[in-house]
Symmetry: C2
Subunit: 124 residues, 2 copies
DNA sequence: ACAACGTTGACACATCTGTGGCAAGGTCTG
DNA sequence: CAGACCTTGCCACAGATGTGTCAACGTTGT
């Protein structure tokens, strides 16, 4: 029985057992299982879980977002489509007027929306 | 006054005026404004909005997800941190047992969770 | 065999996302 | 100047995310 049980893993990683199952459920990590179906956490898994935790806290992102990043690198079509959409404003013609329309203090404090500065769209 | 108004833009792009404002609010596109503050939509903007629409429908993703993709390419640190997290299972030692633990039919029908097949984590 | 722990599934709840609608007030046009 | 349209802000609401807890049932260790 090599590997910690879910409670032990929870203690050393900072996640709750509940969340460890959830992380698996949303598709971020697939733990290996004992024959009877118990999840087994080895050194790698534990490390990875800790790293994930730091990642989320450091950048204030959610599991679903990491999940999307995973989708981006898994589904090539999606990746290039998104890439293409962003890229569309790479070759900008020179006629961007003195842009003021950006009083982007909006409600940054309110938190979550508009942490991204928008892509300035140049006219045709 | 070059450019359509928000209602006109709404009609030709398929978004509602409400959503056009929302898209701006979440940081995906910054429309240029008339001196009095009206949003102005030119050919480029319209095209981009249509493309965005297709993108979301084709891959069933949300604005927030595109927003995150934007963050990924804007914030270099975030990007590499996420990349690094995924990469950690690139150089896998050869001892992956006959992996069964993947009866990933879970509740795929139930919809949104686990559309991602999880990263199989190899033991140490 | 009994306690301690694991598994999935369900109920619950706060917060966020994506929409709509409405109010109060500014702008444009006939 | 009146009507139509714009702006931002707020209320509302369904569905998703992130967590907790509890139930019903299987596994393990002493």
């Amino acid at each position: 029985m090599d590997g910690l049980t879910i409670h032990e893993a929870a203690e050393t990683t900072g996640w709750s057992p509940r969340m460890l199952r959830y992380i698996e459920r949303v598709g971020l990590l697939a733990m290996r299982r004992s024959q009877s179906g118990y999840r087994l956490y080895g050194a790698e898994e534990l490390q990875r879980l800790r790293t994930l935790r730091e990642l989320l806290q450091r950048f204030d992102v959610g599991l679903s977002e990491i999940g999307f990043a995973l989708r981006l690198r898994r589904e090539a079509e999606l990746g290039s489509a998104v890439e293409a959409w962003f890229e569309t404003d790479a070759q900008r013609p020179e006629d961007v007027p003195a842009d003021e329309w950006l009083r982007w203090e909006q409600d940054k404090h309110q938190g979550l929306l508009a942490a991204n500065k928008p892509i300035p769209l140049e006219i045709a």
